[in-house]
């Protein structure tokens, strides 16, 4: 399973019991199904020596059957304000990513290896923003306790991760802790959900942290505002086009 900004911002509702890894993942994906939403987030980049830098952005997510489209626009600090990102994630097609840079007034298409690198200086990569299952991902139930399942996922060949271990809560199918390993099976990153809130039965991970274990840096992500089940008209198709990005820089 590609682990994702979805964990930080997606919506989790309790669902039926399952007992195989594939079923757990399938149920977790169903539980984490990203519906149309508009969220405001703060990202705090924490350096090795503890210095903090802040980014604020708005994220709009729209799901149409299997296609999930995400639009991100940064509003703070002012040197990145206007930077916009679109991710079109469809399991049947190559993920499409567009990045608009206001200084250049131009949209870049992000290709291949670019998606494996850091997203806006944070410990998240563009790849982490993808929502769909990677092609060819396989899942194994490693262990379980009364409260969690521990599942190892082997992502597809195009991923920078060799293995991803998710600790999935049995109560709500939310991955509370996700460990990322590189292709040599060395620990690379760790994502932890620190705080959740419930909105009309939907669990929202409002505070999470991604730690880069080799660089000893961390990025904390906070969801400060959210609106769920937003009608399609508020996130129209054109939100995810080059034309929209260039008009709204």
């Amino acid at each position: 399973m590609r682990i994702l900004l979805c964990i930080l911002a997606c919506l989790v509702a309790p669902i039926a019991w399952a007992d195989t890894a594939d079923e757990i993942i399938a149920n977790a994906r169903k539980a984490q199904r990203v519906e149309n939403s508009i969220q405001h987030l703060e990202m705090v980049l924490i350096s090795r020596n503890g210095a903090k830098r802040e980014r604020k952005f708005e994220m709009r997510v729209r799901r149409d059957e299997k296609t999930v489209r995400t639009y991100v626009r940064f509003s703070h600090p002012s040197d990145v304000a206007g930077t916009q990102l679109v991710v079109v994630d469809n399991p049947a097609e190559a993920t499409e990513q567009l990045l608009y840079l206001p200084a250049l007034k131009r949209t870049n298409r992000i290709a291949g290896k670019a998606r494996k690198g850091s997203f806006m200086g944070s410990d998240f990569s563009y790849e982490d923003l993808e929502v769909s299952d990677g092609a060819g991902a396989t899942h194994t139930l490693v262990s379980e306790t009364d409260t969690i399942w521990v599942i190892d996922s082997k992502p597809g060949a195009d991923s920078s991760y060799g293995r991803i271990r998710a600790h999935v809560s049995k109560a709500d199918y939310l991955p509370r802790r996700v460990e990322f390993f590189d292709t040599k099976d060395q620990p690379k990153k760790l994502l932890e959900v620190l705080q959740t809130e419930t909105d009309n039965g939907t669990i929202i991970p409002v505070r999470s942290v991604m730690k880069n274990l080799s660089r000893n840096t961390a990025t904390e992500m906070k969801v400060t505002e959210w609106r769920l089940n937003v009608p399609d008209a508020e996130i129209p198709d054109e939100t995810f086009t080059v034309g929209f990005l260039e008009r709204n820089g």
Binding site: L45, S47, R48, A51, R53, E54, S75, H76, P77, S78, D79, A81, G82, E93, A94, E96, A103, L104, K105, R106, T107, N108, R109, I110, A111, G112, K113, A114, R115, K116, G117, S118, F119, M120, G121, S125, Y126, R215, T217, P236, D237, E238, F240, T241, V242, G243, E246, R247, N248
Partner: protein
């Protein structure tokens, strides 16, 4: 002044306003063996204040750009300028999307070797020291767009187009560099010719007067030369552009067409003056009639049709960009302050490779051909090839950034390199050091006459302008 207005509008808005202030001083010190008259130190201070407010009915945006330039040489010059940046309103009005105000409307996909980015004038006064943000000059414009998400048609109209901002005289990045005009007049006082006995004394006095001239007067002369004969801003001489954008999976294409006023004037030096300069002799008394029969220089701001296309896609691990353009009547500079026109075509492309936001490498190239070139050409050729490259590496969670940009022209065998290393102390403050190195086959001109008949390329002409610089960026 505009920022409080933006904030007051925020009262009825649904989201908080984005307000930003950037203060960016840069100090550059001459690092090459340039003439004594050249500026030994140059500083720029760019101040950009901006605000943006999204409301239920659209988006208001405001920007003010301040700029202070100090040039220390034989004279110390200090120039302050305040401009309205991108300011206006953008939103849906019925079936169309409208943007109106003082706008930058960028066409094209290439950054270092642009081809079809024709709607806004460029600010070239700081040469390679300029920031990316300060290169485009916002002008009054209205842009109307309509269509469906994957196909859009757009019309833009700019009623009061401006020429590119160039210092003709007096800076190290201008055609007539510091001291050239004064040196020319001193030399001309000693020229032979039938009228020498009559004129030498007067020219000599003119030289003294020029030496005593305040730099501000010289700049006014420079502005007058750049703006001479500019058509009135009655809206009838505006720039009109049309654009059709199509988007598919992994691909976007746009076709553009425009009728624009050239950003450079077509000039023609009085033939008698030209002969005088070429022969370095004063005219015979009998030739005086020809000298005064027409103005020293005639200037026309011609219009041209242009058509072009742009494309971007991905190919494996690479981002691919391309653009091409055709002009019916492009102004082409010639030696001795003259110009002519020619139909022209250009085609260019670029490849990008990136690794997240930490590594970005890009190469670009452009081929241009003048289809009916005049005999003598200045700073260009019938066929020109320009190559460019950019590399940006970011380390330590975005704190350290190494940025390099380079241009190479096989046509003139000349290149320019601009490396910069910056360190971000905190979110608001970063400090950078860097340099500009320029090398060319042809030695740069040292006198006015050498400048007017220069046969090298645009980078060679500035190849004694190597500098090292330090820059600070404060963002709030």
């Amino acid at each position: 002044m505009l920022i409080p207005l933006a904030l007051s509008l925020a009262a009825s808005a649904e989201s908080p306003p984005e307000v930003g202030l950037t203060i960016e001083p840069l100090v550059a010190v001459d690092a090459s063996d340039s003439p004594d008259s050249a500026d030994s130190l140059e500083s720029w201070l760019w101040i950009r204040a901006k605000a943006k407010q999204r409301t239920d009915h659209g988006t208001w945006f405001f920007a003010v750009n301040g700029e202070h330039n100090v040039r220390v040489g034989e004279d110390t010059e200090a120039i302050w300028q305040l401009d309205v940046g991108e300011t206006g309103w953008s939103g849906e009005t019925g079936p169309v999307h409208l943007r109106i105000g003082n706008l930058v409307e960028r066409w094209g996909k290439l950054d270092l070797t642009p081809i079809i980015d024709v709607l806004n004038p460029r600010d070239l006064r700081a040469g390679p020291l300029a920031t990316v943000e300060s290169m485009h000059v916002a002008v009054p414009m209205a842009v109307v767009q309509a269509g469906v998400p994957k196909a859009r048609a757009e019309l833009s109209f700019s009623p009061f187009p401006q020429g590119d901002r160039i210092d003709m005289i007096g800076s190290d990045w201008s055609l007539i560099r510091p001291g050239m005009l004064e040196g020319f007049v001193t030399d001309a006082a000693g020229w032979s010719g039938g009228s020498a006995a009559l004129l030498s004394g007067t020219i000599d006095q003119l030289g003294v007067a020029l030496e005593d001239l305040q730099p501000s007067t010289m700049r006014a002369l420079s502005t007058a030369l750049s703006e001479a004969e500019r058509p009135e801003d009655n809206g009838l001489n505006g720039n009109l552009g049309a654009r059709l954008e199509l988007e598919g999976s992994g691909l976007d294409v746009a076709f553009v067409g425009a009728n624009t006023r050239s950003s450079m004037p077509k000039t023609s030096l009085n033939p008698a003056i030209r002969t005088m300069l070429q022969t370095e002799s004063l005219p015979e008394l009998t030739e005086f009639d020809a000298l005064v029969a027409s103005p020293p220089m005639e200037t026309e701001w011609l219009r041209t049709w242009m058509a072009g296309a742009e494309l971007s896609t991905v190919l494996g691990p690479l981002g691919v960009r391309a653009e091409a353009g055709w002009w019916s009547n492009k102004v082409v500079q010639q030696q001795w302050l003259s110009a002519d026109t020619s139909p022209a075509v250009s085609v260019g492309g670029g490849l990008d490779w990136a690794h997240g936001s930490a590594v970005f490498v890009s190469v670009e190239g452009r081929f241009s051909r003048l289809l009916s070139p005049p005999d003598s050409l200045f700073l260009t050729a019938r066929d020109t090839i320009d190559l460019g490259a950019t590399a940006r590496f970011t380390f330590a969670a975005d704190r350290i950034q190494l940025l390099g940009a380079g241009l190479y022209s096989p046509t003139f065998d000349e290149w320019m390199l601009r490396p910069e290393l910056s360190y971000r102390f905190s979110d608001p403050i970063s400090l950078g050091i860097g340099g500009v190195w320029i090398q060319g086959d042809e030695a740069p001109p040292s006198t006015l006459l050498e400048a007017l008949r220069y046969a090298g390329g645009p980078m060679s002409m500035m190849s004694d302008n190597d500098v090292v610089f330090a820059t600070l960026r404060w963002i709030q």
